[in-house]
Amino acid sequence: MSRFLAVEDQLVRMQRDLNRALDGDPQKVKWGMVIDLAKCIGCHACTVACVAENKLPPGVVYRPVLEYESGTYPAVGRRFMPRPCLHCQNPPCTKVCPVTATYTNEAGVVVVDYNRCIGCRYCLVACPYSARTSDFGDWYTHGTTEAQGVVQGQKTAAAGYEADPAAEYGKKWPKRGKGSPVGNARKCHFCLHRLAVRMLPACVTTCIGRATIFGNRNDPESLVYQMIGSARMFRLKEELGTKPAVYYLA
C-alpha cells in the first residue's frame, strides 16, 4: 500500500510488481497482460500512446482498439477491445518465420529481430489476431509542403519527429530511411525498452480507465496474476490452442 495515497492507484501496485520482478530471478519472469473490457471506455489513448512511444509510421499499429455494437435500438450497447500482440505461448507466427527473425524471448515476449527479418510477411498471414503489421516505408510528412517552418514543412517535421526512430528493443536504430525496420514485420513488444528501465508499457500508464494490467504472470503477489484467476477471464480464439499471454476480462 502506498504511504501517500488514501486509495492506491493500481498503477502504483503494478509499478511495485514490476520492480519486484526486475529485482528477482529473471528466469522466473513471464510478462503478461490482462485487459478488463468492462473498464475500457474506448478512448484510444493506449493506441495513441503506443504510436507515439514507438514512433510508428502510417499503416503500422501495435494496439488498435476494436469496437463492437450490439443490440437493437433502443437497447443498444457499444463495447471496446484493445488488441495488442497477444504474445502467444504457442505462437503460430514464430513457427513460420523462415529465418528465426521472430521468436519468444526468455520473458515470454514474442519479439522481432529487425536485422534478421527478410520481410516475407508469412508471420502476418499466420497470426490469427492480425496483430502484426508490415512497415511499408510510409511517412506522415510524405507529400506535404517543403516550406520551411517550425511545425510545417516536410523536412522540418520529418527531421523533428519521423526521422529519428524510437529505441525499440532497447537499441539505437539508424535514421528512418530504407533500412530496418522499413520492410519488416512489426508488432507490440510489451515496451521492452521501457521495462528495462523500470517503466510500465506506454499503453498501461496511459489507460485512463485502468483497464490494462501488466506484470509478471508467474508472481502470485502480482495484480496480473490475481486477475488472470478471475472468473471473467477469457482468451481470444482459445480454440486455436495459441495460449495467449494477454487475457481479457469480460
Binding site: 499503416g59 499466420a126 502484426r132 486455436l240
Partner: protein, 416 residues
Amino acid sequence: MRYKLFPILSITAMVGLVIGSFGMFDRLLNGLNPVAFGSYVPWGLWVAFYLLFLGLSAGAFLVTILTYLLGIKAFKSIGPLSAFMVLVCLICEMFFILLDLGSIHRAFYQFFLTPNFSSLLTWMFILFNAMGIIYILKTYFLVRGAIIQGVPNQTGLIRSIFRLLSLGRTQYDEDMRAADERRVHRLAWLSLPIGLVFYGTNGAFFAVLLNRPIWNSAVTPLLFVVAALLSGGALVAFLTYLFTANDTELRDTLTKYLGRAILFLLVVFLALETMLFSVGYQTGRPDVVTSLNHITIGPGWWNFWIVHFAIGSLIPLALLTFFYRNPKAVAWACFLIFITFISVRYNFVIPDLAVYKLEGLDTGFFDPRLSTSYAPNLNEWLVSIWVISAGLIVFLLGTRYLPIVNANSGGMDHAS
C-alpha cells in the same frame, strides 16, 4: 532454331521490358512503398504470379520425368525444351518472390545463417535451390553434345558462348554421350522426389495456417499438385504444338497424348474446386462464406466466372472433349488454360486474406494499408510485366541460339 514467332515475341518481350522497367525502378528505389497490398492483405499479385510460374514449371517437370525416367519415347523430342522451361519458370518464380520481400538482400544470407526448419518457407527455399541446381545440370547435359559439336557452325558471340559452355572440349564421342545420358537419368531420378515434395510443399505452405479456413485443408497440397500439372501441362502441350510444326506426325501424336492428359487433369481440378466450394458453403462459417463470396459475387466475380470458368475451363473442356483429334483445337484449349490460370492463382491467394480476422478491425484504426480491400496497382502490374518479359527473353534466346529444341535430333534415349 529459327521459328516464325521469334521476331514478334522478341519485340513484345523487349517492349514489355522497357515498359516494366518503370515499375522495377520504382520498386528497387522505394522498396515495397509503391505496392497496393498492406498488412491485412500482405500478399498480392506477385505471389499469385509466383504460383502461376510454379505451376507452369510443374508441367514441364512432368514431361522430363516421363522422358528421362520412364523413357516414354513420344516425348523425347520435347525433353530438352521441357527441362529448359523448368529453368525459365524457376527464374521467373525467383524474381517474383524476391521482389515481394521487404528486405531482399537478407534472403541471400539469412537463410544460411539462421534457418528455421519448422517453417515451410525454409524448405521451399531449400527445395527451390535443389530444383534449380538439378535442372541447370540436366539441361546442360542434355544439350552439351550439340553444343560441342555445334561450335564450328557458329560465329561471333554465339560461338564464344558455345566454346565457353563446351568447357574446352572439342570432341563429343559415344562414351561421353553415354556418360551424359547416365547423368541425365540419375538427375531425373533425383528430381522425382525433390520435385514432388517441392510442389507439395508449396501447397502445404498455405495448408498449415490454422487461421485460414480456405487454405487450412489436407486437400490443398493435392489441389496444388493438380493445378500445377494442369497449367504446366497445358503450356507444354501448346509449346509442343508450336515447336514440332515441321513434323506433323510427331506433332499430332504428342498433342493428342498431352490433350488427353490435360483433359483428365482439368476434370480432376474442376472436381476438386467444386468440392472446395460446396464444402465451404455447406459449413456456413461466416469467414469461409465471405471468402467464397468474394470469389463468386465479389468485385472480381468476372475474374472467376468469365476468365477462369468460361474461358479457362468450359471452352477448353469442350475443345478437348469434342475436338481432341484436331491438334490445333487441342493447342487452343491448352493456350486458354494456361493463359487464364493467373485468375485461379489470384483467387486462391487473395480471398482468404480479404476477410477481417477479428470483428472491429475495419474500424479500429484507419489506414489504406489496414484494409482487406485490394486490387493490384500499376506498379505491381509493371513489375510483373518486367519479370514475365525477362523470362520470355531468356526463353526466346535459349530456344533460338542454344540447341534446345533440336538437341540430338529429337533428344536422347534414357539410360536404362
